[in-house]
């Protein structure tokens, strides 16, 4: 339905969007994930018609809309920091898009009420938007975006400015709202938890280019490159020499059937290593942190090789542990363009 082809946007010599292509199907929720400055917002602005690309095309239902002005596209865009109209009430903010489509009177009023109910702001219609809390403003912005029933809804870090607890609640609510509306959704965020919790598909951006595009579980199981893996929080990489279906890591050997022979860069996902008294790999605990009910250990298994290992119980620094390894949680990561140094 939406098809962005090879979009490039340059500000001076710098390409903030670099040959980026992305397609979105009806009803699909796509999360665009990346660190700040990776071009996520620019991508939304190009799709919305607020930024002209230097090259490339935006297609909507097969029609080239690259030079259609923003107000004729009929998309919805919810801005970071919401961009509410400070001189209009809550209801008048939500009704703005309807006014522009010449929807007025009772029809508009009932639609506004319907949306305020949807976002949990029933009865707030007459309030001034300047006196709302951050969470309430966010809800007004969402209602305003959805009111004209756009077929494509874009959200730019919609809950990034809110505090943790509120964000978790809203992620669940948003997921429900996205399920109810029939629109395609493009959701920009730098938080992988949000992206994974909401999206049918996750697109990862870096330096204006798209470096990953897959459903969440696939992206997690088989990160296409080291950048994506590290951005998702997986940073245990080892070099292995593979021959005869066995990967030799230097400090241990693992049977791996579907790995090409030769030198390979392998990613050990966090669940690959477990503390196991019957394990064959010996190591020394060099660090231990506690988070979300679990201990995360840093275990040195060979000089200079430290692995992140989850543990349900605390282990003091300096103690010896034995580990076991699950070969199915080990992934080959193509070397390619990304290096760890510039993450």
């Amino acid at each position: 339905m939406l098809d962005c082809r090879r979009l490039t946007v340059r500000f001076g010599a710098k390409a903030v969007l670099d040959d980026a292509s992305i397609a979105v199907e009806p009803g699909e929720v796509v999360a665009v994930l990346g660190p700040s400055g990776s071009g996520k917002s620019t991508l939304l602005r190009v799709i919305a018609g607020l930024q002209k690309p230097n090259s490339g095309a935006v297609l909507w239902r097969g029609d080239d809309i690259t030079s259609t002005p923003a107000h004729e596209r009929g998309f919805g865009l919810m801005f970071q920091d919401y961009a509410l109209f400070p001189h209009r009430s809550v209801a008048a903010n939500v009704a703005f898009g309807l006014e522009m489509r010449r929807v007025g009177g009772a029809v508009a009023r009932s639609r506004v009420d319907e949306l305020l109910d949807l976002v949990g702001l029933t009865g707030m219609a007459g309030r001034s938007v300047t006196e709302l809390s951050g969470g309430e403003q966010q809800r007004v912005a969402l209602a305003r975006t959805l009111a004209p029933s756009p077929e494509l809804v874009m959200l730019d870090e919609p809950i990034g400015a809110l505090d943790r607890a509120l964000r978790d609640d809203l992620t669940v609510e948003l997921a429900a709202i996205f399920r109810d509306i029939e629109a395609a959704v493009v959701y920009v965020t730098h938080d992988q938890g949000e992206a994974f919790g909401l999206a049918d598909r996750v697109v990862v951006m870096r330096h204006g280019a798209i470096v990953g595009d897959a459903p969440p579980d696939e992206l997690w199981r088989r990160p296409p490159n080291e950048f994506v893996a590290r951005f998702l929080g997986m940073d245990t990489f080892v070099t292995a020499v593979v021959s005869g279906g066995v990967a030799d890591l230097g400090w241990t050997s693992i049977p791996m059937a579907d790995v090409p022979p030769g030198r390979n860069r392998l990613l050990l996902r966090p669940e690959a290593m477990t503390v196991d008294d019957a394990g064959k790999i010996e190591g020394v605990v060099v660090g231990s942190t506690f988070a979300a009910g679990r201990y995360s250990l840093s275990v040195e298994v060979d000089s200079g090789v430290r692995l992140a290992v989850g543990s349900p119980r605390p282990l003091s620094v300096g103690s010896l542990v034995t580990l076991s390894i699950d070969p199915s949680a080990i992934v080959i990561v193509p070397d390619g363009q990304s290096t760890s140094s510039d993450v």
Partner: protein, 541 residues
């Protein structure tokens, strides 16, 4: 603790100095005017007002005063908004220079503005049409003079407006024009209203421009007060008229401050970065805007210079030479007025900055009722026309000691006009000193005196410099009060220029033009110096 109390007492004393100054040089003269309007010899009476009302011409003057102010304001706002947009939203080479240049007409002495428009559209004007005495000439001069107020005030608000709010409207289906009407304009409304009320106030009490460009049919109340007091020597009539104007202006100011109060609730979000015009339409619009700005701002001043250099049968510096020789029109050589002006300006600046900073310190520290009340009192001279102030000095300051002939009284009058501006400029700067900084310095071991020296003083020093430049400009250009106070043997440049302009003959006209050019240059230098020192974070004009 003891030291704290001592400091507070010192601050209390600091508040008394500006209050005393205002009481003697402002409240007392104004009350004297009211007294002579309401209390003719022999007790209370409204005869002065009745006599005024009986004169049909005065009704005409009042009517003209109001409608020319309304039209001037509307036209200035209409042409100022596109200018504000160009400077706020577009990046182009020389943007900072243009922005700085827009302020020049506003601080140009009114007499220079009058001279410039005479040079352009007066007898033998550069455009070949004599429009003296028409309202068109007055409107043009008012737009020229006040353009900066709109461009600055509205432009600053525009710069601070989050562009994403307009973009949100675009995405929701509003065309560019619809976005401007439904989103941009309503959000700018407070700034536009604020600029409009300032322009309205200035044009309502316009004096120098109208005295030079107008005639009996095109006179404002301000000019009429001056005429009654100086030519007709009808002091009671002048006092009654001044009273009426005082009430009207106070009402406008009151409405304005009420509006400001309501508006200050709104918090402006993040600022926009100006962008280079992208489409040919934007480029054309920007070019048209800059072209208009250049024509409006440069043409009158350029013509002024041209006329100053014009002598019989060509160009030369003959008019400037005449500044150095005796003339029957002044008791001194014209060039002496330059020295007097600079001396008055120096004195006025010292007084205005000293008293203004003391007052600003009180306003900035006290945010409660006391601070607001004090703030309002300090703004009162702004609402009182300069002519009324000068007239008040004349009526009041013969008692207890007759100081009306004192040379320094001119400097005091100028300081009085400048103090509200000094306070306006310095209070935001002083408030920008963050409490956290003081606390940080104290925690790191600085004594209260040391904190003041390390944290407050550098900022206040900068504020004082900016205020000094502004006071200089105000004093150099002041004409309304000066026309009452300057002694014939010690005239200021504006007074000298007006003398030459009010006499016939091309020689006198040439000398007036030359002296106007000198005044323009001196003022411009002072203002551009201010513009360089001005910290970026202060807004308005």
């Amino acid at each position: 603790m003891v030291r704290d109390r001592a400091l507070r007492r010192l601050a209390g004393a600091a508040a008394l100095v500006p209050l005393g100054f205002l009481a003697y040089f402002f409240v007392y003269p104004v009350l004297s005017i009211l007294a002579s309007a309401f209390f003719p010899p022999g007790g209370f009476g409204l005869d002065a007002f009745r006599e005024l009302a009986a004169r049909r011409s005065l009704l005409g003057v009042a009517w003209f005063t109001v409608w020319q102010a309304v039209v001037s304001t509307l036209v200035t706002v209409a042409v100022g908004i596109p200018g504000a947009h160009a400077l706020a939203r577009h990046e182009f080479r020389g943007r900072k220079l243009v922005r700085a240049a827009t302020i020049v007409p506003f601080v140009m002495p009114t007499v220079v503005v009058g001279s410039a428009f005479l040079a352009l559209l007066g007898r033998n004007g550069a455009l070949g049409i004599d429009m003296r005495g028409t309202v068109w000439l007055i409107l043009a001069a008012h737009v020229f003079y006040n353009y900066a107020v709109v461009v600055r005030t509205v432009g600053t608000a525009w710069e601070r407006m989050d562009p994403r709010i307009e973009e949100a409207a675009r995405v929701l289906g509003a065309s560019p024009w619809r976005t401007f009407r439904s989103v941009t304009l309503p959000m700018l409304r407070p700034a536009i209203a604020s600029a409009a009320s300032i322009v309205f106030l200035f044009t309502l009490t316009s004096f120098g421009v109208i005295l030079i460009l107008g005639n009996l049919a095109t006179a404002t109340i301000e000019v009429e007060i001056w005429r009654l007091a100086t030519s007709l020597i009808d002091l009671r009539g002048a006092a009654a008229l001044a009273t009426i104007q005082l009430v009207a202006v106070t009402a406008v100011l009151f409405a304005y401050s009420r509006y400001q109060e309501r508006r200050s609730v709104q918090v402006q979000p993040a600022a926009a970065r100006p962008t280079r015009p992208a489409t040919w339409r934007q480029r054309a619009l920007l070019a048209a805007n800059l072209g208009f700005m250049a024509t409006l701002l440069l043409a009158p001043l350029a013509v002024l210079v041209e006329r100053a250099l014009r002598v019989d049968g060509g160009y030369g510096i003959g008019n400037f030479r005449r500044l150095l020789v005796d003339t029957p029109i002044l008791l001194v050589k014209p060039v002496a007025s330059v020295a007097y002006s600079l001396a008055y300006a120096a004195g006025a600046t010292v007084v205005a900055v000293t008293i203004g900073l003391m007052a600003a310190a009180v306003v900035a520290r006290r945010r409660g009722l006391v601070g607001r009340w004090f703030d309002t009192v300090l703004m009162l001279p702004l609402g009182t026309s300069a002519v009324t102030l000068g007239f008040g000095f004349l009526v009041a300051l013969d008692e207890p000691v007759d100081i009306r002939a004192a040379v320094w009284l001119v400097a005091i009058g100028h300081a009085l006009v400048a103090i509200p501006f000094v306070v306006r400029i310095t209070v935001p700067i002083m408030r920008s000193i963050r409490v956290r900084l003081r606390e940080a310095a104290a925690v790191l071991g600085a004594s209260p005196a040391r904190v003041w020296r390390e944290v407050d003083l550098p900022v206040i020093g900068r504020a004082a410099l900016v205020a000094a430049g502004f006071s200089l400009a105000v004093s150099l250009g002041e004409f309304g009060a000066t026309s009452f106070l300057a002694r014939p043997d010690a005239p200021t440049m504006p007074v000298a220029i007006y003398r030459f302009l009010s006499r016939p003959g091309s020689v006198n006209f040439g000398v007036a033009m030359a002296l106007s050019v000198v005044l323009m240059v001196v003022t411009t230098v002072a203002v551009l110096a201010v513009e360089r020192l001005r910290p970026d974070d202060t807004s308005g004009f």
